[in-house]
C-alpha cells in the first residue's frame, strides 16, 4: 500500500494569504473570524495566545495588532474541491480529510501508478502541482495514511518525500503525540502522563493503552506503532441532477431570490422529466457575497416527479432562509433518484392548467425558433426602493 498525503496547513489562512500577498510573512498575526468567533489563526498570532474558538474581544485583548479577516467557508470549500478534482485526474482513489477550518488534507492511493510514472519523483511533482504553489502544499508518501500525513507535516512548503516501510517506526518514534487524529482531551491526558512522543506511547503495551483510553487509545497505539491499514475511502458517487446559476448582479431581494430559485428548479426539473425519474432529496446551496454559503436539504416523504410538488417543498425554505448577504450564485441538486412507478393523471384538466400548457408550448416554439425565449416575466423586487431600476426585474421565461 502506497499512500500520498497532500497537506496544506491552515487551509483557510493559506487561501487568504495566496489572494492577499500583503498578509504574507511568518510574523503576521492574522485571524480568520466568523460571527465574531476566531476560527483560524496564524502561528504568530498563536504565540500571542490567540486560539480558535476564542471570541474576537478576547483575541484583541491578547493581541492588539491582530489582523482579522472575515471567513469565506464556501470559497475555501470550492478551492479545495478544485484540488480534489485535479488529484482525481491522476489517481482514481482520492479521499478528502478536510474541514472549513483546519488543515487541508487529501489522501491519494498511488498503488499501481508506477506503471504510468516509472520515475516516482515525476508522480510526486504532478500530485504536488494539483495545489497552487501559493497555497504552500507539501506531499508525504508512505505505506499508510497516518505515516504519510506525518511525513508531509514535517516538510517545508513545496517539497515532497517518500518513506519506505522500514523507516516508518523510527520516524514516528520521535514525533509529537499532538499529530494523532484523536480527541484533544486524550492528547492533553497523554501529555499529563508524560507521554509526549509517539515513541513513548508505542513503547507501552497496547492493552494498557486500550484499557486507559478505550478504542481511541487502541487506535492511537496502532498509529503510533506504524500499523495503519486504513484504506483511502472514496466518497460514493451518487446519481444526481445539478443545476448551477451565477448572478453577475447580486440579488438583494427575497422576491428575486425566489424567482431565481424557481427558474433553477425549472431547469433541474426538465432534466428529471427527460429521464422519467423522481427525486427524493433536493439540496439548495446559495452562494452569498464574501464567500458565505447558505445550504439546506429538503427530503420528500415520497419521491416527487412534478415541478410544482418540488417547488411546494422548496418555497417555504427559501422564504424563511436567513441570507446574511446578497446572493451571487445558486446550485440546486436533486438526488436519490428513483423511477416513477405509477402516475395518476386527472381525468379533467382545469381551464387554467390548459392555458398554462398552451403558453408553455408557445414559449417552447419561440425558444426553438430564436434560440432563447424572448418572453420575460416581471417580478417586483424592491417596490419601496428609491432607485427606480431596483423596483422590478424581468425574469426570463425559460420553457
Amino acid at each position: 500500500m502506497r499512500i500520498g498525503c497532500l497537506l496544506i496547513p491552515h487551509f483557510a489562512l493559506a487561501c487568504e494569504r495566496a489572494e492577499q500577498p500583503g498578509l504574507d510573512g511568518g510574523a503576521a498575526t492574522i485571524a480568520i473570524v466568523e460571527e465574531r468567533v476566531i476560527r483560524e489563526v496564524s502561528p504568530a498570532a498563536r504565540r500571542y495566545g490567540v486560539w480558535p474558538g476564542q471570541r474576537l474581544q478576547e483575541a484583541f485583548a491578547a493581541c492588539p495588532y491582530l489582523v482579522t479577516i472575515e471567513a469565506r467557508p464556501g470559497h475555501y470549500e470550492r478551492r479545495f474541491q478544485v484540488i480534489l478534482d485535479r488529484l482525481s485526474e491522476i489517481a482514481p482513489a482520492v479521499e478528502a480529510g478536510w474541514a472549513p477550518f483546519g488543515h487541508g488534507i487529501a489522501y491519494v492511493d498511488i498503488k499501481g501508478l508506477h506503471r504510468h510514472y516509472p520515475d516516482s519523483r515525476q508522480l510526486q511533482s504532478r500530485l504536488l502541482g494539483c495545489a497552487q504553489s501559493e497555497l504552500r502544499p507539501r506531499l508525504g508518501v508512505a505505506p499508510g495514511k497516518f505515516p504519510a500525513y506525518v511525513v508531509a507535516s514535517r516538510l517545508k512548503p513545496g517539497l515532497a518525500r517518500e518513506v519506505e516501510a522500514a523507516e516508518v517506526p523510527a520516524m514516528l518514534g520521535e514525533m509529537d503525540v499532538d499529530l494523532l487524529p484523536v480527541d484533544q482531551r486524550m492528547i492533553r491526558r497523554l501529555h499529563q502522563l508524560g507521554l509526549h512522543t509517539l515513541g513513548a506511547l508505542s513503547a507501552l503495551p497496547r492493552h494498557s493503552v486500550a484499557a486507559q483510553f478505550g478504542p481511541e487509545g487502541a487506535l492511537a497505539w496502532d498509529l503510533a506503532s506504524g500499523q495503519d491499514q486504513a484504506a483511502v475511502r472514496v466518497a460514493p458517487v451518487e446519481e444526481s441532477i445539478e443545476v448551477r446559476q451565477a448572478f453577475i448582479d447580486s440579488l438583494t431581494s427575497r422576491e428575486l431570490v425566489m424567482a431565481a430559485t424557481e427558474q433553477v428548479l425549472g431547469r433541474a426539473f426538465r432534466a428529471l422529466a427527460d429521464r422519467r425519474q423522481a427525486a427524493r432529496l433536493a439540496t439548495l446551496r446559495i452562494d452569498l457575497e464574501r464567500g458565505k454559503v447558505w445550504q439546506k436539504q429538503v427530503t420528500f416523504k415520497e419521491p416527487r416527479a412534478i415541478q410544482s410538488a418540488i417547488w411546494q417543498a422548496l418555497k417555504p425554505v427559501v422564504e424563511t432562509a436567513d441570507l446574511a448577504a446578497p446572493v451571487v450564485g445558486m446550485e440546486l441538486s436533486l438526488t436519490r433518484l428513483t423511477s416513477v412507478i405509477g402516475w395518476q393523471g386527472t381525468l379533467w384538466t382545469s381551464q387554467r392548467r390548459q392555458r398554462q400548457e398552451r403558453i408553455q408550448e408557445a414559449m417552447q416554439q419561440l425558444k426553438a425558433r430564436y434560440g432563447t425565449c424572448p418572453v420575460g416575466r416581471i417580478v417586483e423586487v424592491e417596490p419601496w426602493s428609491r432607485i427606480p431600476e431596483r423596483r422590478a426585474a424581468i425574469v426570463a421565461f425559460d420553457p
Binding site: 444526481s240 441532477i241 445539478e242 443545476v243 448551477r244 446559476q245 451565477a246 448572478f247 453577475i248 448582479d249 440579488l251 428575486l256 424567482a259 431565481a260 427558474q263 433541474a268 432534466a271 432563447t372 420575460g376 416581471i378 423586487v381 428609491r386 432607485i387 427606480p388 431600476e389 431596483r390 423596483r391 422590478a392 426585474a393 424581468i394 425574469v395 426570463a396 425559460d398
Partner: protein, 96 residues
C-alpha cells in the same frame, strides 16, 4: 450530472427593469437643466421644473449611488424625469 449548458447565466436571465438611458443636458450656473437633448432629436428647452429630489444610497459600497432627479416639462409639452449622476456628472432619463 447535467452538464453545463455552456451559455452564460445571470444577466440574461434576470434583468433590471427601467434602466436609465443617457440624455444630453445643458445646465445653468446653479446646475439646473436648461435644455434637454434626447437621442436623434433637437434640443428642447425646459419651460418648467416641477420638482427635484436627491437620492443618496449605498454610500457604504465601493460605488455609492448619488443622484439629483428633476421632473421637468419641455417646450414641446413633454413631461420628463431626468437625473444627474453626481459620481461622474452624467445625465440620464428614467421613469420615476
Amino acid at each position: 450530472m447535467v452538464s453545463h449548458p455552456g451559455t452564460p447565466g445571470g444577466d440574461r436571465r434576470i434583468r433590471p427593469l427601467n434602466l436609465p438611458k443617457p440624455v444630453g443636458v445643458d445646465i445653468d450656473s446653479e446646475g439646473r437643466p436648461l435644455y434637454v437633448t434626447l437621442p436623434d432629436r433637437n434640443p428642447q428647452m425646459v419651460i418648467d421644473l416641477v420638482k427635484s429630489w436627491r437620492v443618496d444610497e449605498e454610500w457604504w459600497r465601493e460605488q455609492p449611488i448619488s443622484r439629483i432627479y428633476w421632473q421637468c416639462v419641455l417646450d414641446n409639452g413633454q413631461f420628463l424625469t431626468i437625473f444627474n449622476d453626481l459620481s461622474d456628472g452624467t445625465w440620464w432619463r428614467q421613469r420615476a
